[in-house]
């Protein structure tokens, strides 16, 4: 495999896992605009553990994921007191606080960043991306996933049906934090270097776009969104600096044509290999 292709594939894997981290909270009706903060925590936890402890990768990756999950849990408690655009701003502020803290802390290298003395092979990234994708699909199939989706649709009605909205949203934030942190760990281990400036607001916006353009209704959405945002800019490289313009126009068009994302639940239902068979069954009166 060429270096270019494997490099693109690595970025796709990292973006995909990152997107699932934001997707999980979006499913439960929360817009997380602090994604970069969670990814930074996973990346810096990995860099720090790798340089300080020299522990093997299979210890460091889960540890960094857990740390990010814990931060997700803790940060969800104050953030979930806010609603709508205020929650978006609160998560945005969280991302900025994390980046600002890392930029000024001596033990994390400040503005210079940190070198990561370990390297993850591509298969580690691919395996992690596959497992994360399966976990997201599994979660969406559970009753917890059903409760999360109901909160996105109508939180008050869901509460009156007995759903503990706060507990479900805290769980979503924690799982989302874990996924975003895992993507950060893999980022650090793939690129061998982390710097706070990379984990900026634009990154948070991009990963949110992966989810919103891809579609937040089914676990297919982040997959479509990550592919869209990772592959298309590469294809547009031939266009030189016009590619940003073309890409921007394309995003606006996507939002106009498919406001609920590339992949919607309805599309999945229609494309399902069982759909035809099931419709036929209904037509024959079961």
């Amino acid at each position: 495999m060429s270096g270019y292709l494997s490099g693109t594939l690595a970025i796709l894997c990292i973006n995909l896992i990152f997107a699932y981290g934001i997707f999980i909270t979006a499913v439960a009706g929360q817009i997380n605009l602090g994604g970069a903060g969670f990814q930074a925590i996973g990346a810096y936890a990995t860099a720090w553990l790798a340089s300080q402890s020299g522990a093997p990768m299979w210890v460091i990756i889960p540890a960094a994921t857990l740390i990010s999950a814990l931060v997700g849990f803790l940060i969800s408690l104050p953030v979930l007191r806010t609603r709508g655009v205020y929650m978006v701003l609160a998560t945005f502020a969280f991302g900025e606080v994390v980046a600002g803290f890392l930029l000024r802390s001596e033990i994390f290298g400040g503005a210079i960043g940190m070198v990561v003395p370990q390297h993850a092979e591509l298969w580690v990234l691919i395996a992690s991306a596959v497992m994360t994708t399966l976990a997201a699909f599994y979660l969406m199939a559970t009753r917890l996933g059903l409760a999360m989706r109901s909160l996105n649709d109508d939180e008050d009605a869901a509460t009156v049906l007995g759903v503990n909205a706060r507990a479900v949203q805290v769980a979503a934030f924690t799982i989302g934090g874990a996924f975003a942190g895992l993507s950060g760990a893999l980022y650090a281990l793939n690129f061998g270097f982390v710097e706070a400036q990379y984990f900026n607001a634009l990154l948070s916006i991009y990963v949110l776009l992966f989810v919103l353009i891809g579609g937040a209704q089914t676990a297919w959405g982040p997959l479509a969104g990550s592919l869209f945002f990772t592959i298309l800019p590469e294809l547009f490289r031939v266009g030189g600096s016009w590619r940003y313009f073309v890409f921007g126009v394309l995003i606006v068009l996507m939002m106009m044509v498919r406001p609920e994302g590339i992949v919607t639940r309805d599309l999945v239902r229609r494309l399902s290999p069982f759909a035809w068979w099931r419709r036929a069954g209904v037509a024959h009166g079961r």
Binding site: R143, S150, G162
Partner: protein, 267 residues
């Protein structure tokens, strides 16, 4: 009536008051719904019926008074705990989850029965033969909801969605079911069907409290009626007597303004 007095009432309201600003939307309301009764709650627009439902289900907190369900005070519990205590409700405007399928909406109603960690984390959508799904499909069929369980709920006719909401409310196996205008927007055939369905699901012990404007539906389904007007209770008694009650007639039709001249004539 006398038999009702022996058993503990399913739902008891005492002095329930709710103010929005200076306006008492519910003012010192007290009544009891006997266990197994099918009671109607009626009143002109703005009488406070929906507010009272929101107080019972916990969407709003009461300012004073008490609400108890089978003898247990519930007015301090959050809505989800009231569901666990045995209360379930439907909404005046259909509140089905638009992005969930028919069966998912109905299975959401099972949430309080399946909220242990094992049930929450088992892949419900992949287990097409799970007892949860079977139970939900059975209830669908018993209610005459004859559509693809996996169909999107948003494309379905109004009457059907209304029925799905009632079935969803029944899935938590409530002791008391409160329905906010279940027949509104239904045609006469659908209304009759709903009435029959509610009668059939009102198994031993299920208590119904129904807000409704359709008086023929009320007469058909409910043995007792309470009437609200301007946030106050003005009638609590058997349904057949309600339309003969002078205060109720005035509430709906307005009281005749009595002029001095007329007053003198009467005197």
């Amino acid at each position: 009536m006398d038999a009702d007095m022996d058993a503990e009432p399913a739902l008891v309201l005492r002095g329930v008051t709710k103010r929005f600003g200076g306006l008492a939307v519910c003012d010192d309301i007290g009544f009891a719904v006997p266990t197994g009764a099918r009671m109607a709650l009626i009143g002109p627009n703005g009488a406070g019926k929906t507010t009272l439902f929101n107080l019972i289900s916990g969407v709003y907190a009461i300012d004073s008074g008490s609400i108890s369900l089978q003898g247990q005070p519930i007015h301090d519990l959050p809505p989800r705990r009231r569901v666990r205590a045995g209360l379930s409700r439907s909404f005046q405007n259909i509140r089905l989850m638009p992005h969930l399928s028919v069966i998912e909406n109905i299975m959401l109603g099972q949430h309080t029965l399946a909220s242990d960690i094992g049930s929450l984390l088992s892949p419900l959508a992949w287990q097409r033969n799970s007892p949860w799904r079977k139970q939900a499909e059975d209830s669908m069929h018993r209610a005459g909801i004859d559509v693809d369980p996996d169909a999107a709920v948003s494309g379905l006719p109004y009457g059907l969605r209304k029925k799905i909401e009632v079935v969803r409310a029944l899935m938590s196996r409530p002791r008391v079911l409160i329905l906010d205008e279940p027949a509104a927007g239904l045609n006469p055939r659908e209304t009759a069907e709903l009435s029959n369905f509610l009668r059939s699901v009102a198994w031993d012990g299920l208590t119904l409290l129904v807000v409704e404007h359709d008086m023929s539906f009320v007469h058909d389904l409910c043995d007792r009626t309470v009437v609200l007007n301007f946030g106050r209770l003005i009638y609590d008694g058997p349904t057949p007597g309600v339309q003969e009650n002078q205060e109720v007639r005035e509430a709906y039709l307005g009281s005749r303004r009595v002029t001095k001249k007329e007053a003198g004539r009467v005197a």
